[in-house]
C-alpha cells in the first residue's frame, strides 16, 4: 500500500499535489459521495457540514480524552451521526426543494452554535445544580476548538475507506433500494404508487449520507489536528454541495472527481500567486457553462464533442456538407 501511495505521489507531486493535499482530496471525495446520495434521491439538503462537525468532535474527544483507537472512534462517531440524523430526518424530510435546503442550513447552524456554546451550557448546569462554583469549564473549547489532536489518519485509511464505499455504492445502485432512490427523485407520488416506501427510502438515504459525512469529519479532524466550529459553517456546506454538482451526479465517479478537482485546483494553481483565485474561478465557470451536468457526465461530453466537431469541421465546409 505504501508503495502504491508513493507511486501516486511521485506522479502528482510535480503539479503541486503533496501527501496532505492528497489526503484532503480523499476526505472531500467522501463528502462528495455523501452529497451525491442525497441528490440522487432528489433531496437538496445542506446538513452534511453539521454531521461532519458531529463526527469530528465526537471522534476527537474519544481519541484525545479516552484514548480510543481511530477505528473505534470512527465507528462510535458514525453511529452517533446516524442516531442524530434519524429524528432530524423524519420531520425535516417532509419538506422539499428549497425549503428542505433552508431547514438543513438551520440544522448546520444549530450544530455549529451548539459546539460554540456547549462548554458554557455545561458550566451553567454545574454551577446551578451542583454548586460547583467553577469559573470555566473546558470540554470542546468553544470558539478555540479542540487542539493538539493527534494526526492519526493515514493515507491508506482513506484509500481503503473510499474503495469500500465505492464497492458498496455500486452494489447499492443495482439493488432494489438503489432503483427506488432514483424513482423517488424522478417522482415521489409515482414511486409511492408503485409500492415504494418513500419515507423509508428518504430517511434511510439521509441517515447513510449523515454517516458518510460523519466519517469524513472523523478523518478530517485527525488530519488538521484542530477542530473548531468555524470549520463547519455555511461555507463548508456549500463546498460539499459543489463537489457533487461540479463532478456530476449521474455516476458515482462524479462526486469523487468533483472532490478531487475542487481540492487540488487551488493547490495546483499556487504557482500563479495572486492570480490563483482568478484561475480557480475561471475553471469552475468554464465547467458550469460547457458541462452543466458536471465533469463526469458522458452525455455532456458527447454533446460538447459534437458541437465542437460541428464548429471545427462544419463551418468552413458547410456548402460541401450540405451538398453531401
Amino acid at each position: 500500500m505504501d508503495f502504491l501511495i508513493e507511486a501516486i505521489l511521485s506522479v502528482v507531486r510535480p503539479i503541486g499535489i503533496t501527501e496532505p493535499v492528497l489526503q484532503f482530496m480523499l476526505v472531500n471525495a467522501i463528502l462528495g459521495i455523501s452529497m451525491y446520495l442525497l441528490l440522487r434521491t432528489g433531496m437538496f439538503s445542506l446538513a452534511n457540514a453539521g454531521f461532519m462537525a458531529i463526527g469530528a468532535y465526537v471522534s476527537v474527544l474519544l481519541t484525545k480524552e479516552l484514548d480510543f483507537a481511530l477505528g473505534a472512534a470512527l465507528v462510535v462517531a458514525v453511529i452517533v451521526c446516524a442516531l442524530i440524523a434519524l429524528p432530524i430526518g423524519l420531520p425535516v424530510l417532509r419538506l422539499r426543494d428549497i425549503y428542505l435546503a433552508i431547514a438543513t442550513i438551520g440544522f448546520g447552524e444549530v450544530v455549529r452554535i451548539f459546539f460554540l456554546n456547549v462548554d458554557n451550557m455545561i458550566l451553567s448546569y454545574l454551577n446551578t445544580f451542583q454548586d460547583a462554583g467553577l469559573r470555566r469549564y473546558e470540554l470542546v473549547g468553544g470558539g478555540r476548538g479542540v487542539r493538539n489532536v493527534e494526526r492519526l489518519t493515514e493515507t491508506w485509511h482513506l484509500i481503503v475507506f473510499l474503495i469500500v464505499i465505492i464497492f458498496l455504492l455500486t452494489r447499492l445502485q443495482r439493488s432494489r433500494f438503489g432503483r427506488a432512490m432514483v424513482a423517488v427523485r424522478q417522482d415521489e407520488r409515482v414511486a409511492a404508487n408503485m409500492g415504494i416506501n418513500v419515507v423509508y427510502v428518504k430517511n434511510m438515504v439521509f441517515v447513510l449520507s449523515a454517516m458518510l459525512a460523519g466519517a469524513a469529519g472523523v478523518f478530517n479532524g485527525h488530519l488538521t489536528r484542530i477542530v473548531t466550529p468555524e470549520m463547519f459553517g455555511f461555507d463548508r456546506a456549500v463546498d460539499i454541495l459543489a463537489y457533487a454538482v461540479l463532478g456530476g451526479t449521474s455516476v458515482w465517479a462524479g462526486p469523487i472527481v468533483g472532490g478531487f478537482v475542487l481540492t487540488a485546483l487551488p493547490e495546483v494553481l499556487r504557482r500563479f500567486n495572486e492570480y490563483r483565485g482568478v484561475f480557480n474561478g475561471l475553471v469552475l465557470l468554464l465547467v458550469i457553462v460547457y458541462l452543466p451536468g458536471g465533469l463526469i457526465n458522458p452525455q455532456g461530453w458527447r454533446k460538447l464533442w459534437a458541437s465542437a466537431r460541428r464548429r471545427l469541421t462544419g463551418q468552413p465546409a458547410q456548402p460541401e456538407a450540405g451538398g453531401g
Binding site: 503533496t18 493535499v21 478555540r144 476548538g145 489536528r225 484542530i226 490563483r276
Partner: protein
C-alpha cells in the same frame, strides 16, 4: 555700508554652510549603520550561498486578507532592506516565498508542506491565524524547520515544539498592565464586558481581561458576546450601558471594534472603552473618527510613541513611502519577524535549519520596532507592551496623557 552688509551676510552664511556640511556628514554616518540589525553584534557572514529562501504563509485571500496583505507588504519591505543594505554579506540575496492560506486550516497545511518539504525553505513566517498555526506548525516541527508566528496570540502555540516561535505578544502579556494603568488613572469600579466568542484571539483577550479585572477587584456588571462579522451591537450595548458602567471593556478585532465604538457613542455612552491588541490599528482611528476619543488600548506596538525606537520610526517612514498607508501592529510584527530571521541567518552564518533555530533562540535585546526584543525560554516574545489612549485623534501613551492632564489641572 554695502561692504558691511556683505561681510555680515558672509558671516551669517558661513556657519550655515559649515553646519550643513557637518550635519550631512552625520547623516551619512546614519546611513552607514541602518537603524535595525545586529551589525556589530554578529560578524558579516562568510559561508552563505548566494541565494537564501525563507517561506511565509499569510492569509492573502478571503476575509483574513485584511491582515495578510499588510503582513506580506511588511515582510517584502524588510527583505528589500536586508538585501539593499547587504545584511547577509555581499552578493547574498534573501528571497521570500509567499503562500496563501486563505484563513483555512487545510490550505495552511498544504502550504506548509509545500514550503518545508517541497521547496525546502530555511524557515517559515506565519501562518496568520492561530487556528492555522495549530494545524500547520507541527509539519514544520516534524521537519526540523523554524516556524515563527507573527500574529498568533493564542495560548499554547509555542508548546507545539522547540522549532515553533512567535514574536506576537500574547494578550496575557499586554492586557494586565493596561487594565491596571487604566484603573489607577481613571478610578474605575464597575465595568461592562463585551467579547467575540467565536474567535481564539478575542476569547483569549476576554479571559485575560476577566482575570485582570478580578485581580484588581473590579466589579463586572455584565458580560455580552458577539460573533465575528457582526455589524449591529445595539442589544449588547443597550444592556451594558443601562447598568451604568464606569468603563466598557471590549475584546474584539479591528472590524468589530470600529462598529462597537461608533455605536456605543450613538447610545450616548461617553466613558472610556478599554480594548486589546485588536484595537491597535490606524484603521480603527480613521474609521471611528472623533468617537474614538478616550479609547484605551493595550498593545505590543505603539504607532504614536513620542519617543520611539529609531528602528520603529524608520519602519513607519519606509512603510508609508512604499505603500502610502500607515502600518499597523500586524505589519510591525511581520516586519520584525523577517528581520529576526535575517538576523538569525547572519548570526548563525549557516544555511542549516537547526543552526538558524539556535541562533534565533539566542537573539537578545534586538533593537526592533517593537522595542528591545528577546525570546524567552519558551520561544515567546519578551518586550515591553504599552498602554495607550486615543487623545485628539492619535494614539498616545496613557501615562503621558494622564500626566499632561494632571499638569494642566494644576
Amino acid at each position: 555700508m554695502k561692504k558691511f552688509r556683505l561681510i555680515l551676510s558672509v558671516l551669517f552664511i558661513l556657519p550655515l554652510i559649515f553646519v550643513s556640511v557637518v550635519s550631512a556628514d552625520e547623516h551619512d554616518e546614519d546611513a552607514d549603520t541602518p537603524p535595525i540589525g545586529f551589525w556589530e553584534e554578529c560578524e558579516t557572514p562568510q559561508n552563505l550561498p548566494d541565494e537564501l529562501t525563507i517561506g511565509a504563509i499569510f492569509g492573502l485571500s478571503e476575509a483574513v486578507a485584511v491582515y495578510g496583505i499588510a503582513q506580506r507588504q511588511a515582510v517584502e519591505l524588510a527583505v528589500a532592506e536586508v538585501n539593499a543594505w547587504g545584511y547577509l554579506g555581499e552578493g547574498v540575496t534573501l528571497r521570500v516565498q509567499f503562500e496563501d492560506s486563505a484563513g483555512n486550516a487545510q490550505q495552511a497545511i498544504a502550504a506548509m508542506e509545500k514550503l518545508v518539504v517541497e521547496d525546502g525553505v530555511l524557515a517559515v513566517l506565519g501562518p496568520t491565524l492561530s487556528t492555522e498555526a495549530f494545524a500547520a506548525d507541527p509539519i514544520a516541527q516534524e521537519n526540523g524547520t523554524v516556524v515563527m508566528g507573527v500574529s498568533n496570540t493564542a495560548i499554547g502555540i509555542t508548546d507545539m515544539g522547540d522549532f515553533v516561535f512567535r514574536n506576537s505578544l500574547p494578550e496575557e502579556a499586554v492586557i494586565p498592565g493596561t487594565v491596571e494603568q487604566a484603573i489607577d488613572a481613571l478610578g474605575l469600579e464597575r465595568v461592562g464586558v463585551m467579547y467575540g466568542d467565536d474567535d481564539d484571539f478575542t476569547i483569549s483577550g476576554f479571559d485575560v481581561f476577566v482575570d485582570a479585572l478580578d485581580d484588581n477587584e473590579i466589579e463586572i456588571l455584565s458580560v455580552e458576546t458577539f460573533a465575528r462579522g457582526d455589524r449591529d451591537f445595539s442589544s449588547q450595548l443597550t444592556s451594558l450601558i443601562a447598568r451604568n458602567p464606569d468603563a466598557l471593556v471590549v475584546s474584539a478585532l479591528a472590524a468589530e471594534a470600529v462598529q462597537i465604538i461608533i455605536q456605543a457613542r450613538e447610545f450616548g455612552y461617553d466613558g472610556p472603552i478599554i480594548g486589546g491588541n485588536g484595537f491597535n490599528s490606524p484603521a480603527v482611528l480613521d474609521q471611528s473618527g472623533e468617537d474614538a476619543e478616550g479609547v484605551i488600548v493595550g498593545a505590543a506596538w505603539n504607532i504614536g510613541d513620542p519617543d520611539p525606537e529609531p528602528s520603529s520610526e524608520a519602519f513607519q517612514q519606509a512603510f508609508v513611502e512604499e505603500y502610502g498607508v500607515a502600518p499597523d501592529q500586524f505589519a510591525a510584527q511581520a516586519y520584525t519577524g523577517a528581520w529576526l530571521f535575517a538576523t538569525a541567518i547572519r548570526c548563525a552564518d549557516s544555511d542549516d535549519r537547526a543552526d538558524i533555530r539556535d541562533a534565533l533562540a539566542a537573539i537578545e535585546d534586538f533593537p526592533s520596532p517593537l522595542g528591545l526584543y528577546s525570546f524567552d525560554e519558551n520561544r515567546d516574545p519578551v518586550h515591553d507592551p504599552i498602554a495607550q489612549i486615543v487623545f485628539e485623534g492619535a494614539f498616545l501613551p496613557l501615562a503621558s496623557v494622564i500626566e499632561g492632564a494632571a499638569e494642566s489641572d494644576e
